[in-house]
Structure formats: structure tokens, C-alpha cells
């Protein structure tokens, strides 16, 4: 193909150029900026989900409370679950993976930078779409359905005291949308359409991300970074990407079937038409169970990074931890019907799924023991990240143990739909995933900001959180076993459930206080925190060989990896007893690395920013709004408009090169220009 000096201009708008300011964020394809945006958005939803939880807790503090109507309660637990899972834990995992994965493998960016931006914008618009139900959605009680009149006539979310009228427009079919309850007959109105279509949009974002991360890990590792030398977090991210890749298509179909029922009169789940509600449960949980491993594995990865650093010991059994993570994911595909033990599946199915569920305890146990083995005889530094990591191990173990009790079928029949289950999953998701997330935030904060978060505030947050968390969720174990039922807006005083419910609510507000402390810590540390320098934690892995805050190009000179924990071994030798001994010139080594990475000796070429991911993403919710209102003229117009926006942006994207060619040696047809010959590579 011929190389020409000048470049045919194929785009109508000129390529964005800014690297700072508002537009640089809108057009960025830099994985770090994308990760930061994911993080802030996720945290905003965390706060919203937390407020939803506090409202639920206020209602449940007293027996027979009238604080919320039944309908409002249903809406709140639906949105609490949906928000926390899809709009907080998943995107915060994406935030970590986006920011860190290229750094952990010694790369400059992900395999497909614009696709990465697309994932973020699709997620962003999807979250807004879902929450716009509060403005546009409607949720009315089913009319004329036999046997329904509402307890105290207050099935409606709207109207009357305790109804919080804005909740009248939000989804109330549970985060799991069981059919036909969440279908057109029993949940008329548009709120559950916002739910189904919103999740559809979010799923698309994650699916695109997963492809990006898989190709990145397989093709973009630095020289010498063999797969089994990658940091554990990079491994867990890869495993999560495969879980997403294979589970999201299933939920996409299931959600489409719900939309087809609700909007187009299909009969997939309508019992009166012959539809089977159990089919929904199978399809949902086929996704739903891998989903919970998607939620926990990143946090497990974080803990596997943090524990070795602050124990000053390598991770015990690195390969075992990696393979256990893969095993958990693999086995996780085979246990979904343990969410259906009480739904009428056959005894053979119950036994098979019960047994399969028990086997997951094995790789999980391997990880737990290896984490303990990492800390054993280590020289512990009790920093905030380590406290959260230890908290993870303890709390997750408790949650895992209650999980094992669910795997015993007759036992599960008693536990299911009680607060015992609520206790279990909050121990693994909050005590587990959320604690792991905070460990990661404190640990990697220097990479984002070049500063360290306040230890005093961090420890305050930790202790408030662990006390508040246990006060909130431990009592739920026995409340559940005493018969407190899930998803029910009130309980009678005769049940005797009230005293512990008061304790639970107090715990919930302590958690809220802890979060407030965190937000204050984040805000002040960003501005006035102690400067971190290159290696504030005396870390082990290569992301710490890039200066703090991370420069746009990540590494001026990508590391050449010689072994696992490569960075550590640059700093430390082993003495005769195999103990780590700092090299005499360690300080010089560190300052050399920092100097080299801060001063690239040749121009570094990065992909240009782009408008197109933003606009391709923008069209998608427009289409979906149109689908909800497709029986009207406006709806049809929105569908057409959305398709035009997305399609034209896709065309523009396809004609835009990833990078505008450098003037000297541009080959306009060559998608990948070459590194300049004079760029220095490490020897």
C-alpha cells in the first residue's frame, strides 16, 4: 500500500486535541481517566444505594411501622439491590480494572482504547436511564387481578403517608425481577421496563469491556510478563472478564424476553398464556450466579495484592491462588439452581446442585488458607489497606460459612426467603467485596493522586465500619432463623423481632458515618495528603514502577519482567536464610527508576481522543426510551433518532484511525504506525 505524506480528511469534525479540561474527559480514550470516571460514578450510586438501604432500615426498626407503604418498600429494596450490584460493585470493579490492568502488565493502554471509552459511556448513560425511572417511570398496582387487593390496600407505591411519592415511579419487582410478578400483568406501568432495559444497556457495556480486557491481557503484556508472572489482580480481572463474556449473553436474552412480554405481548412468562415462570429463574440465575463471582473476584484480587505487601512476604502459593480463582469461576457456572431449591425442581436436581455448590468451598478455602499463610510469620505493618484486607478475610469467611449451610438443601428450605440469606450475602458482598474495595482504594490512592490518604481517618473509618457492619448484619442471621421474612415491609410485634432490628438499624447508621469519614478523607487527602513518592508502600509489583500520579503514558520505558514480584526483586536480595535483605543501593535504584520514567527520551505516541464513543453510546438509551413508548409517535421517533445517532457515529468511528498519523512516517492505511527507531527500549 502506498504511503503518502498528507492525510485524507475523513471526518466532518476535526479530531479533539485537548488533554485537560471538561472536553478532555468527554473525549478521552485514556484508561486511567476512564477508570476514574467509573469510580466516581460508582461511588455516587453507592451513596444512593446506601440511602435506599437506610430508608428500608428505618421502616424495619419498629414493628408495624407506617414509615413506608408496602409499595414504597418494594421499590426501595428493588432499587437498593439493583443499584448496589449493577451500579456500584460492578462499575467500581471496572474502575480498578480500567486504571490498573495496563499498569499491572506493564502496558500503555488497553487493546481497544476507543471501545474502552464506549463501555464507560454506555454504562454512564445506562445508569442515568435506569434512574430516570424516578422522573419518567410509572408503577401502578395490578388491576382486576384475582386475589389481590393489597394488605391494608397499600400495594400502591404512591399516595398516602409513608409512600414517598417519587417511589411510585420506580421498579418494584426485586433486583431479580421474578416473573410473572415483574411482568406486564402484575407490574403494569413502565417502571419495570426501565429496569429491564436499563440492565440491558449496562450488560452491553460490561460485555464490550470483557472482550477488551481479555485481548489486553493476552496481547499487551510487557516483555517477560508471562501469564504466571502477572499480579493476582490482573489474573482475577481476566477470570472476571471470562465470567462476564459467557454469562451476560444469557441475561441479555432473558431481559429481552421480559421486554417482549411487557412491550410486545409475547408469552414467554405469562402463566395464562402458557409461559413458564421457572424458565425465567433458570435464565436469570444462569447469569446471576456467575455474577456473584464477578462481584467478589476483583476484591479477592485486591486482597491478594495488599496482604503480601504489608506482611512483607510473598503471596503464599501464588499459583494455587490463581488456579483457585479460575476454579471458582468455572464451578460457579454449575451451581445456579441453588437459588431455586424451593421452586419445585426435582430431588435429583436439588442433590446435584447442592453437591456442586459444596465443591466451591474447596478453591475458596485454598484462597483463605493461602491468605492466612501469607500473613503468618510476616512482618506486619498494620496500615489501613491491610486492616481492610484482614477484615475482608474474616468477614468473607463468615459469609462463606453461611453459604455452605445454604448448600444443604433441607437446611436451605428453612433459610430461604428469610433474613439468614440477607445476612449471608451481605457478609460476602459487603464484608467481602466492599471491604476489599476500600483496601484497594487506600492502597492505590497514591497512583491516582501522588499522595497518601490519612491513616488516622482511615483507621477511624475501618473501626466504625467493621463495628457498624457486624452490628447490622450479624443479628440478621438469628433474625432469619427466628422467622423474619425477606422482602416484606413490616412484621408484627408478637414476633419479638423488634429489639434486634433496632440494633441493626443503629449499625446501618454507623456504616453511613464510616462512609462519610471516608469521603472526607478522600477529599482532604487529595488536596493535602502527604506526598507519596514512587513507592510509598515498599510494594512488589510493576505498577509501582510508574511515577505517582501516573503520567499519561504510564511507562516511559516499559518494564522487562524477569520473575514474579519483579519490582520487589529489583529492590531486595535474599540472604543465606532466604529472608529479604534490602539491596545497599535500593534508594538509588528507586530514584533511577523514577527519573527514567518521568523523562522519556523519545516522543511517546498515544491514541488520540475521540468524540465517537460518546455519541455511539448516546444513541442507545434514546432507542430504549423509544422502545418503552413505542406505541406512541414520540416513541417511534425516538427509536429512529437513536438509531441514526448510533449508526452515524459508528460510521464516523470506522473511518477514524485510532491515531492520527505522525507527520514524518505516516502511512494512512497502516492502522498501527511504528515506534520511532530511536526510541530506547530497556536492555
Amino acid at each position: 500500500m502506498t504511503a503518502t505524506a498528507e492525510r485524507p480528511q475523513t471526518t466532518i469534525f476535526s479530531r479533539p486535541k485537548s488533554t485537560t479540561g471538561f472536553w478532555s474527559w468527554v473525549t478521552t480514550v485514556d484508561h486511567k481517566k476512564i477508570g476514574i470516571m467509573y469510580g466516581y460514578a460508582a461511588f455516587a450510586f453507592f451513596v444512593l444505594g446506601g440511602v435506599e438501604a437506610l430508608l428500608l432500615r428505618i421502616q424495619l426498626t419498629q414493628a408495624n411501622s407506617e414509615f413506608l407503604t408496602a409499595g414504597a418498600y418494594n421499590a426501595l429494596f428493588t432499587m437498593h439491590g439493583t443499584t448496589m450490584i449493577f451500579l456500584f460493585v460492578m462499575p467500581v470493579g471496572a474502575a480498578f480494572m480500567n486504571y490498573l490492568l495496563p499498569l499491572l502488565i506493564g502496558a500503555r493502554d488497553v487493546a481497544f482504547p476507543r471501545l474502552n471509552a464506549l463501555s464507560w459511556w454506555i454504562f454512564f448513560f445506562g445508569g442515568i436511564f435506569l434512574y430516570s425511572t424516578f422522573i419518567f417511570g410509572t408503577s401502578v398496582p395490578p388491576v382486576g387481578v384475582d386475589g389481590l387487593g393489597g394488605i391494608d390496600g397499600n400495594l400502591a407505591a404512591g399516595g398516602g403517608p409513608g409512600s414517598f411519592n417519587f417511589l411510585a415511579s420506580s421498579p418494584d419487582g426485586g433486583w431479580f425481577g421474578y416473573q410473572p410478578n415483574a411482568g406486564p400483568l402484575y407490574s403494569p406501568g413502565t417502571a419495570m421496563d426501565y429496569w429491564a432495559l436499563g440492565l440491558q444497556i449496562l450488560g452491553l457495556a460490561s460485555l464490550i469491556s470483557s472482550i477488551n480486557f481479555i485481548v489486553t491481557v493476552f496481547n499487551m503484556r510487557a516483555k517477560g510478563m508471562r501469564l504466571l508472572r502477572m499480579p493476582v489482580f490482573a489474573w482475577m480481572s481476566t477470570v472476571v472478564a471470562f465470567l462476564l463474556l459467557f454469562s451476560l449473553p444469557i441475561i441479555a436474552i432473558a431481559l429481552f424476553m421480559v421486554t417482549a412480554d411487557r412491550q410486545f405481548g409475547a408469552l414467554f412468562f405469562a402463566p395464562t398464556g402458557g409461559g413458564d415462570p421457572i424458565l425465567w429463574q433458570h435464565l436469570f440465575w444462569l447469569f446471576g450466579h456467575p455474577e456473584v463471582y464477578i462481584l467478589i473476584l476483583p476484591a479477592m484480587g485486591i486482597v491478594s495484592e495488599v496482604l503480601p505487601v504489608f506482611s512483607r512476604k510473598p503471596l503464599f502459593g501464588y499459583s494455587a491462588v490463581v488456579f483457585a480463582g479460575a476454579a471458582i469461576a468455572f464451578l460457579g457456572f454449575g451451581v445456579w439452581a441453588h437459588h431455586m431449591f424451593a421452586s419445585g425442581i426435582t430431588p435429583v436436581a436439588q442433590a446435584a446442585f447442592g453437591l456442586a455448590t459444596m465443591t466451591i468451598a474447596i478453591p475458596t478455602g485454598i484462597k483463605i488458607f493461602n491468605w492466612l499463610g501469607t500473613m503468618w510469620m510476616g512482618r506486619i505493618r498494620l496500615t489501613t489497606p491491610l486492616l481492610f484486607a484482614i477484615g475482608f478475610v474474616a468477614m468473607f469467611t463468615i459469609g462463606g460459612l453461611s453459604g455452605v449451610t445454604h448448600s444443604i438443601v433441607p437446611s436451605d428450605w428453612q433459610q430461604t426467603d428469610t433474613y439468614y440469606i440477607v445476612a449471608h450475602f451481605h457478609y460476602v458482598l459487603f464484608g467481602g467485596a466492599v471491604f476489599g474495595i476500600f483496601a484497594g482504594l487506600y492502597y492505590w490512592f497514591p497512583k491516582l493522586t501522588g499522595r497518601v490518604m490519612s491513616e488516622k481517618l482511615g483507621k477511624t473509618q475501618f473501626w466504625l465500619m467493621i463495628i457498624g457492619f457486624n452490628l447490622t448484619f450479624a443479628p440478621m442471621h438469628w433474625l432469619g432463623l427466628q422467622g423474619m421474612v425477606r422482602r416484606t415491609w413490616k412484621y408484627a410485634p408478637e414476633t419479638g423481632l423488634e429489639p434486634w432490628n433496632v440494633a441493626v438499624t443503629i449499625g446501618a447508621f454507623i456504616i453511613a458515618l464510616a462512609i462519610a469519614v471516608f469521603m472526607f478523607n478522600w477529599y482532604t487527602s487529595k488536596r493535602r495528603g502527604r506526598l507519596s513518592g514512587l513507592d510509598p508502600w515498599d510494594a512488589r509489583t510493576v505498577e509501582w514502577m510508574s511515577p505517582n500520579p501516573t503520567p499519561e503514558y504510564n511507562f516511559a520505558v516499559p518494564p522487562v519482567v524477569e520473575r514474579l514480584d519483579h519490582f520487589w526483586h529489583l529492590k531486595y536480595d535474599e540472604d543465606e536464610e532466604g529472608r529479604a535483605a534490602a539491596k545497599p543501593d535500593m534508594d538509588q535504584i528507586l530514584s533511577d527508576i523514577e527519573e527514567e520514567q518521568l523523562n522519556p527520551r523519545a516522543p511517546i505516541h498515544l491514541p488520540n481522543p475521540s468524540y465517537f464513543p460518546f455519541f455511539v453510546a448516546l444513541g442507545i438509551p434514546v432507542i430504549f426510551y423509544g422502545i418503552i413508548y413505542h406505541t406512541t409517535m414520540w416513541g417511534k421517533a425516538l427509536i429512529v433518532l437513536g438509531v441514526l445517532i448510533t449508526l452515524s457515529s459508528l460510521i464516523g468511528w470506522s473511518t477514524e484511525p485510532l491515531e492520527e498519523p505522525h507527520s514524518e512516517h505516516a502511512d494512512p492505511d497502516e492502522g498501527y504506525a511504528h515506534e520511532p527507531a530511536e526510541e530506547v527500549m530497556p536492555s
Partner: protein
């Protein structure tokens, strides 16, 4: 200060990398296609569940299939895989004219297949009163074949785009050649899904008693 130039590529396939030697986009396409098995698997399972369940009101799809007609359209789609692979082969030999011809042929055969689907659906709805809303078996049928049809339509659009690019004076570049290979992979995948659908949905489906 660092001399950043927003210009050239990140280190794609640079020899200094640990890499699989498979181009990023090709690997990405194969990874994506492997996820599509879960997608179509759910749709096919739906169909198998509901088409084998007796007692529904209204017409079952298996009662009204026109096997000769569907056989012909299956043949058409199958042959479009041939033309697709010939297009790819022509480009690899630098035969721009051949590339153009075979790309257009593939898109045309795909369009013919789609036309057949539209005709079939219309027949079912108008002649036999089987719509999406008739019964769960019908719902499952339309959603399965509908999604497949959407995939074919997207493929036709991509093929026509490539054909448009090939008609330029300079023809298809090497970079676009990779795109052609990727579109080809997608197209063949859509074909193999139809191979499964034709057998499982059309040839093996019977109306439950």
C-alpha cells in the same frame, strides 16, 4: 517535560511484547463469537422448551413450516459462506475486482435470505395467524429467528460497507483486508448458527400431541 505526541499507535504487536501473535482485533472477534454461543443457546433452548410443550392455544410453528422453502433459503445462506471465503481469498491475492464481485455476491445472497425470512414471517402471520403473541412456542420461534435475522442484516450492512470501500480507486487496503477477514468470521458464524437452527428448529421439530 515529556514530549508527548498524540499521534501514533500504542505498541500493537510490537516485538517487545508478550503476545499471542494473533492480531488484537482478530482475537477480539473470536472471543466475541464464542460468547454468542451462550446467546443463541438460550434462544434455541427457549424454542425447544416451548415447542415441545403441548396444550397451547393457536398454531404451533412446526405445524406450518414450509420445508422446501426453508431448505432453499438455507442453501442460499450456506453458499454465501462460499462467496465470502472467495472474497477473502481474492483480496489476499491482490485481486480487487474479484474481491468486489464476491463481496457483492455475499451481501446479495444474505439479502435474499433475509427476504425469504420476511416472506416466511408474513406468510405465518397473515395466512396461518401465528404471531408473536399467539403462544409461547410462537414467541420463541419469532425471537430466535428474528435475532438471527438481525445478525444477518448487520452482516449485510458490513459487507456492503466493505464493498463500497472496495469500489474506491485504490481498492481495499491491507488494514481493510483484516476487516474483511473479521466480517467473514462473523458471517460464517451466523451461517453455522443457521445450520443448527435449520436442523433443530425446522427439520426436527414436531407438534406435541
Amino acid at each position: 517535560m515529556t514530549d508527548l505526541v498524540h499521534g501514533e499507535a500504542v505498541d500493537h504487536g510490537h516485538p517487545e511484547h508478550e503476545s499471542t501473535e494473533v492480531d488484537n482485533r482478530k482475537l477480539g472477534m473470536w472471543v466475541f463469537l464464542s460468547s454468542e454461543f451462550l446467546f443463541f443457546g438460550a434462544l434455541i433452548s427457549n424454542y425447544l422448551i416451548y415447542s415441545n410443550r403441548g396444550g397451547f392455544e393457536g398454531v404451533y410453528p412446526a405445524a406450518i413450516y414450509d420445508i422446501p422453502f426453508t431448505s432453499v433459503s438455507s442453501f442460499v445462506l450456506l453458499m454465501s459462506s462460499l462467496t465470502m471465503v472467495l472474497a477473502h481469498n481474492a483480496l489476499s491475492r491482490g485481486d480487487q475486482n474479484g474481491t468486489k464481485t464476491w463481496l457483492f455476491a455475499t451481501a446479495s445472497l444474505g439479502a435474499v435470505f433475509l427476504g425469504g425470512q420476511v416472506f416466511e414471517f408474513t406468510e405465518f402471520i397473515v395466512e396461518y395467524d401465528m404471531a408473536l403473541t399467539t403462544n409461547p412456542a410462537a414467541s420463541a420461534f419469532y425471537v430466535l429467528t428474528g435475532f438471527h435475522g438481525i445478525h444477518v442484516a448487520i452482516g449485510v450492512i458490513m459487507l456492503l460497507s466493505l464493498w463500497g470501500l472496495a469500489r474506491r480507486k485504490e481498492g481495499l487496503s491491507e488494514k481493510a483486508g483484516l476487516n474483511l477477514e473479521l466480517v467473514g468470521l462473523y458471517w460464517h458464524f451466523v451461517d453455522i448458527i443457521w445450520i443448527v437452527i435449520f436442523t433443530v428448529v425446522y427439520l426436527l421439530s414436531t407438534v406435541p400431541s
